[in-house]
């Protein structure tokens, strides 16, 4: 289903839920859209793709036809290219302050929370919120928690967090309302690098726990950000 979003973009809706198969179709279609010449940019999300186009080059109806043609090429057997990434994570301690309270709320030993979080492969459903933030899922349902009642004003870059059925990693110091259960030493966003992002939408991710003593990371303190508009909350 296609709907205009203003006069230079449109939204493709492939479904209305968060599930891996639907999201795989999103990323498969997103790959096909990149070959349409008038497409400037796409934003694949859970079950939608925002497509920006140049209205001085094409019209809404023309681009709509192109996209419908590509959509018709999609079928359940569509193979989509993806990368598999293993992310080292130090669970708990000072860099995962919510591990123990979250485990207590879930009535699990912290070690079981760690096991359940690190045993699965996750899909990067979409990216957003801040540059390079991956929205990943689906968590084991035993790990489902509501967001923090009061978001933190500053979550350090590298923090690995869970909320609802999702897990994510904060790429830059920013406010955040998810439960911080660990920290990765990897850099998720480096604007000066040729490849500024560690993740891409559609990646497959698995966490690999670091032994606690091996790591003693000091977080680089940096700027505090002004409060965010409600619109950019972590969906």
């Amino acid at each position: 289903m296609l709907k205009p979003l203003g006069d230079s973009a449109l939204l493709i809706q492939l479904g209305d839920e968060i599930n891996p198969a639907l999201n795989a179709r999103v990323h498969a279609l997103d790959a096909l859209l990149q070959t349409i010449p008038a497409v400037i940019e796409t934003i694949p999300a859970y079950c939608t793709i925002l497509v920006r186009y140049d209205p001085l080059v094409t019209t809404y109806n023309q681009i709509k036809n192109f996209i419908e043609e590509k959509t018709s090429l999609l079928d359940d057997a569509t193979h989509r290219p993806f990368r598999r990434l293993e992310i080292p994570i130090l669970y708990g301690g000072a860099s995962g302050p919510d591990l123990e309270p979250a485990a207590a709320t879930l009535s699990l030993p912290p070690s079981e929370l760690i096991r359940l979080h690190s045993e699965r492969e996750y899909i990067v459903y979409m990216m957003g919120f801040t540059p390079g933030f991956p929205y990943m899922g689906i968590l084991n349902e035993k790990l489902t928690l509501p967001r923090l009642p009061t978001p933190r004003t500053r979550v350090p870059a590298g923090s690995v967090a869970i909320a609802g059925s999702q897990t994510g990693i904060y790429p830059v110091d920013s406010p955040g309302g998810w439960h911080i259960i660990g920290h990765t030493p990897l850099k998720l966003f480096d604007p000066t690098s040729e490849n500024p992002f560690l993740f891409a939408p559609g990646d497959i991710v698995k966490f690999s726990p670091l032994p606690p003593e091996k790591d003693n990371l000091a977080h680089a303190a940096s700027s505090t950000l002004p409060p965010l508009l409600p619109g950019e909350g972590q969906g």
Partner: protein, 323 residues
């Protein structure tokens, strides 16, 4: 080095912006670029700059530049005037500046943003294919007093570029009481008919705080059942892409229009989307002062209108000598 201008005084917020950062929205990086694309494009056009050249975007304040060498500048936007050496220039003109002269961009009211362009476009490090500053993402610092700016590709003939008047300025009817054209957004049918009605009937002002990320709107009248934008049910939106111009309606019913540094995704339903042609009008509405009404249009009409406006940037024959 071709150091050309020193920033000697500044209030408000000044950043370098080019036509925007493309290709990284799917990674969560806003497009950025100018709040008012029309004034931005005109500022570059006046100096024969490449259409994606970096300019200074000045918001809600004033600045003074001291020329270290001869150059040509242009200033466009709304709510400002320019003093250079002994003269006051109207906006939407280009002018020659001699080494040692001082150029002041002064706030006069009736707008938010001014664009100061230099012949050859401003030079600055290119980050992810763009010179646009994105402060929340840590890309490029804001300009500050003492900064020395240089052009990227200074042209040889500066005088040729001076004393031009942008004849297309009339194509953007800046006003503090504008009608803003919008197109139905994907979740428009999530709202009750009365709620939709309220959206188009209400007169809105831009409320503080406002910045490059988004403008919050509020009605002047106290909220009542007839001016509240209500949803049909409590359905929640699964986060999806959004961009400059998207109008989100959060739970409190007060619209938020996403602007140049819009987050790339959001979880509130979108009732409508501002047309490209109307974005400059909205961008220049002053917080607490401008009064906005929305008016529905179609994609076809909006695209036609946009094409007409873009024609004013096409041909150098459009230039008229000021004298």
């Amino acid at each position: 080095m071709r150091d050309m201008l020193e920033l000697t005084e500044l209030t408000g917020i000044a950043t370098l912006q080019d036509s925007g950062r493309r290709g990284f929205e799917k990674f969560g990086v806003p497009a950025s670029g100018p709040m008012d694309w029309f004034a931005y494009q005109a500022a570059n056009s006046l100096l024969d700059n490449l259409p994606n050249s970096a300019v200074i975007e000045l918001g809600l304040g004033e600045l003074t530049l001291r020329a270290l060498r001869n150059t040509s500048l242009s200033v466009t936007g709304s709510g400002y005037e320019v003093e250079s050496y002994l003269w006051t220039f109207p906006l939407w003109t280009s002018f020659y500046v001699r080494a040692g002269w001082t150029v002041r961009v002064k706030k006069t009211g009736g707008g938010n943003w001014a664009y100061i362009s230099i012949a050859g476009g401003f030079n600055s490090p290119v980050v992810m294919n763009s010179r646009s500053t994105y402060l929340r993402g840590g890309i490029g610092p804001a300009l500050k007093i003492g900064d020395v700016l240089a052009p990227a590709n200074p042209p040889a003939d500066l005088l040729k570029l001076a004393a031009r008047n942008f004849s297309g300025a009339g194509f953007m009817p800046y006003s503090q009481t504008p009608f803003i054209d919008v197109i139905r957004a994907p979740q428009a049918d999530w709202f009750t008919p009365e709620g939709i009605c309220a959206f188009y009937e209400n007169e809105y002002i831009v409320s503080l705080p406002f910045d490059r990320m988004g403008y919050r709107l509020q009605t002047l009248a106290p909220s009542s059942p007839t001016n509240t934008i209500t949803k049909k049910n409590a359905r929640e939106l699964i986060s999806e892409g959004m961009m400059m111009g998207s109008i989100q309606i959060p739970a409190d019913g007060r619209p938020i229009v996403m602007m140049a540094d819009s987050p790339t995704a959001g979880g509130y339903p979108k009732i409508a989307h501002v047309t490209r042609a109307s974005l400059p009008l909205l961008a220049q509405c002053e917080a607490g002062a401008g009064k906005i009404r929305f008016r529905e249009t179609t994609v076809e009409e909006a695209q036609e209108n946009r094409k007409k406006i873009s024609m004013v940037f096409k041909t150098p024959q459009d230039w008229k000598r000021m004298k």
